[in-house]
């Protein structure tokens, strides 16, 4: 019995000791946020940790929204210093930041990510337009008979949508609504596709909510299958079922080019070059946000940003391109490298 008492005492002392030790602060950079930016930020972090005297930053994969919440929770050193985002910070998130004392935030656009619609190499490559994708995936679509009203999606096969497409059942594997990739896909493909109908587009001006409901709601009758956040899993499923298509980030297509090919969307194939020069339309910018108040308090933030914005990292031949990040145009890179250097706070418009 005495032994148990001793262990108990030792354990509680251990807890007490570490509690006091932690109040002293942190000597490594803490970063949270998007799982899309995670592979790139971790590459920079690893390089940074190996080549400088600073500790390797700790990077959590929490999703863009979760990252913003943690980032904006306060200005103390128990909150993260940087956050990854696969979309721009929302005004509401900025307001939370301000309310919690995170006054100055620097925004750095690190590059672009293409979203691809791909299928197995055992099946022919798809050639679609954004309108086709919208018609195939939306819950409600403009009536096929030409009347200006929205009806429950009647299309069952790709051939129903567009005569030039194969007569296969519509079956698309994609990310769930919590994912940034899904947000971006809906915005870049579905919105555009449905804006091609004049009367739906007109709705945007009158009732934005109704427009969003019409364009952004994905069908739930089995045509679109939520396959979870794991893109590797989608790739495996595509291989097993050559008739289905999958939606995921470009880096997964890049790594699995022997198994799958990306569909041509609006006449442009998802290749590194096409995404970089903007001719492949389904691409989105990736950001990192910096808490200016932590620069100088947590060691190494400035140096970390310098590494991130250096040519050997985010340049055309840099190691991030190797990981699948599409570099921003030269002029844009210069602009954001300057912002990173001077820590110019962002003003969201």
């Amino acid at each position: 019995m005495r032994k148990f008492g001793l262990t108990l005492a030792a354990a509680s002392m251990l807890v007490a000791a570490t509690t006091t030790a932690q109040a002293a602060g942190r000597d490594y950079i803490s970063m949270v946020g998007s799982s899309t930016v995670y592979p790139f930020s971790t590459s920079v972090a690893e390089q940074f940790g190996k080549t400088t005297k600073f500790k390797t930053p700790k990077i959590e994969s929490t999703g863009t929204g979760g990252g913003m919440k943690l980032f904006c929770a306060g200005a103390g050193t128990d909150t993260p210093d940087l956050t990854n985002a696969s979309r721009r910070m929302k005004k509401s998130e900025m307001a939370t930041c301000q309310k919690n004392g995170v006054k100055e935030v620097t925004e750095i656009k690190v590059g672009y990510d293409g979203i691809v619609v791909a299928n197995s190499k055992k099946a022919p490559q798809f050639k679609v337009s954004r309108k086709d994708l919208y018609l195939a995936l939306a819950k409600v679509v403009p009536s096929p008979d030409g009347a200006e009203k929205l009806v429950e999606n009647p299309y069952k096969t790709w051939k129903d949508v567009n005569k030039s497409l194969p007569a296969d059942k519509i079956e698309v594997l994609g990310p769930p609504p919590t994912s940034g990739t899904r947000d971006a896909f809906v915005e870049l493909v579905m919105d555009e596709g449905c804006s091609e109908y004049g009367f739906v587009k007109a709705m945007k001006k009158v009732d934005k909510k109704k427009f969003k409901a019409a364009c952004r709601t994905v069908r739930e009758d089995g045509g679109y299958i939520e396959a979870g956040e794991n893109d590797n899993l989608i790739v495996q499923k595509l291989e097993a079922n050559p008739r289905s298509l999958g939606i995921f980030g470009f880096s997964f297509l890049d790594q699995n080019a022997d198994k799958i090919h990306g569909s041509i969307i609006d006449g442009s194939e998802p290749t590194f070059e096409n995404i970089a020069d903007g001719s492949y339309v389904v691409s989105r910018p990736l950001f990192i946000y910096v808490k200016n108040a932590h620069v100088g308090v947590i060691p190494g933030i400035k140096e970390f940003l310098a590494e991130y914005t250096s040519d050997r990292a985010w340049g055309e031949e840099g190691y991030l391109a190797e990981k699948g990040l599409i570099p921003a145009p030269k002029a844009e890179q210069k602009k954001y490298a300057d912002i990173a250097k001077n820590l110019t706070p962002v003003v969201l418009d």
Binding site: F4, Q22, R26, E46
Partner: protein, 423 residues
């Protein structure tokens, strides 16, 4: 009388075949259930093993690196350009390669980890400067995948990550005996990395170790104390009934709830460090406590009352009875419960998600407050990485985790068989 007997026997005989058939069917159902689950288990383990065993080998390239005194000065050893030395050594193997692009591609066959390896070596043995050093350095993950046969050379060039020229170079290196596959020690010695050939599970294993140590140190004594009190001292009333019901319910609560609780209490209220193994251990303590209490109570109950009564009868106090007789007899059962609880804690990811342990951590944790991650989280993170080479590493990490779990469970069984006393 005999007529009715006859008819009963007849009825029995008539139904006998059907009853045998029924029994046979029933047994077949049971057997097929077992065979099916065994088949699934074999399939699972087989696919993990088949995918993962190659990860224990790593392709290496032999380079003759000229450590010239111009690039390497005793003063600048920490900042010298080791990358260029590695690159030059690689180019020396292929004097015919010209052009910036080709040279770049050629130097990419070697892992970026080579220059760090070289740096470490030179810094520990500065006397090597000026000599030509033959060194096996890790190959890039794509070369590794190709040499291991995960990338087929039959495919058209456009659908491989490795092009015809690179394959030609690899063939030349292989012909010259400059490529070999050797035991992948990095996998067991390194922390996480974004380069598959440099990634290892040591960071995650140490994280798991610290986390489980905190869990064990807290949950075992607390759990045993609670069980002893509830079983031996507590009066039977509504309050203790309520506590008992709650403990049983807590054991069935989904683990993510404990993560949320940990986030609210340990991080937000007590402001302990995010992502530390201390907080992870505290959360897992909450999760395993009910399991340990229940197991400990069960083993206390199984100590026969005669022991208790005999001890009390010869004049031992209640405390003496418990600590001299009951606890030693109940301890094997309690240990088994604790080990099974620990094994469950080892495989847990969901509660750790909430307290920031799902993170990219390169440095191997060296204490309870260092940021850490655990084995199952490492598996999850690798399974989500695009690089092909992480597939086999994921499976290899699963094998290591399964091995640890099996060891823990085997320890529990051995302990029980060794110390358990049957009455």
């Amino acid at each position: 009388m005999s007529a009715t007997q006859q008819s009963t026997m007849d009825r029995v005989h008539k139904g006998l075949a059907a009853r045998y058939r029924k029994e046979k069917r029933f047994r077949l159902f049971g057997l097929s259930a077992i065979i099916m689950s065994l088949a699934f288990l074999v399939l699972l383990l087989g696919s993990i093993g088949a995918k993962g065993y190659t990860a224990f080998l790593q392709t290496e390239i032999l380079l003759d690196i000229h450590l010239d005194a111009e690039t390497l000065d005793v003063e600048n050893l920490a900042t010298a350009n080791y990358g260029s030395l590695v690159k030059r050594a690689m180019l020396d193997n292929f004097p015919q390669v010209k052009g910036r692009r080709d040279k770049r591609e050629l130097s990419k066959l070697v892992s970026t980890g080579a220059s760090f390896q070289l740096q470490k070596l030179v810094m520990s043995q500065p006397e090597l400067i000026g000599t030509v050093l033959s060194l096996w350095v890790p190959a890039d993950d794509e070369v590794d995948m190709f040499v291991k046969g995960h990338i087929s050379r039959e495919l058209p060039e456009s659908s491989r990550r490795i092009n015809d020229k690179e394959i030609e170079w690899i063939d030349q290196l292989q012909a010259a005996g400059r490529i070999k596959k050797s035991f992948n020690a990095t996998f067991f010695e390194a922390g996480d990395s974004r380069e598959p050939e440099l990634a290892g599970i040591r960071g995650a294993t140490m994280g798991s170790f610290y986390t489980l140590l905190v869990t064990l140190l807290l949950s075992f004594p607390i759990g045993v104390a609670a069980a002893v009190y509830l079983e031996e001292f507590a009066p039977q009333n509504r309050l203790t009934d309520l506590i008992e019901v709650n403990i049983n319910n807590l054991a069935a609560i989904p683990s993510i709830v404990f993560g949320l609780l940990g986030l609210a209490v340990f991080l937000n209220f007590m402001s302990l460090a995010r992502s530390s193994s201390l907080v992870g251990g505290l959360v897992l303590t909450l999760m395993t406590l009910p399991t340990i209490i229940i197991a400990a109570r069960a083993s206390l109950k199984s100590v026969p009352p005669s022991i208790r009564e005999a001890a009390l009868g010869v004049g031992a106090s209640k405390m003496q009875t418990i600590s001299h007789h009951i606890l030693p007899l109940a301890l094997p059962g309690m240990l088994t419960g604790a080990i099974i609880g620990m094994a469950r804690a080892l495989g847990e990811t969901a509660p750790l998600l909430m307290i920031g342990m799902v993170a990219f951590i390169v440095d191997v944790p060296s204490g309870f407050s260092d940021p850490a991650t655990v084995l199952p989280v490492q598996i999850y993170l690798w399974a989500d990485s695009p690089e092909r080479a992480f597939v086999e590493r994921t499976s290899a990490a699963i094998m290591v985790l399964l091995f640890l779990l099996l060891t823990m469970n085997a320890t529990a069984v051995i302990l029980r068989n060794k110390f358990e006393r049957r009455w």
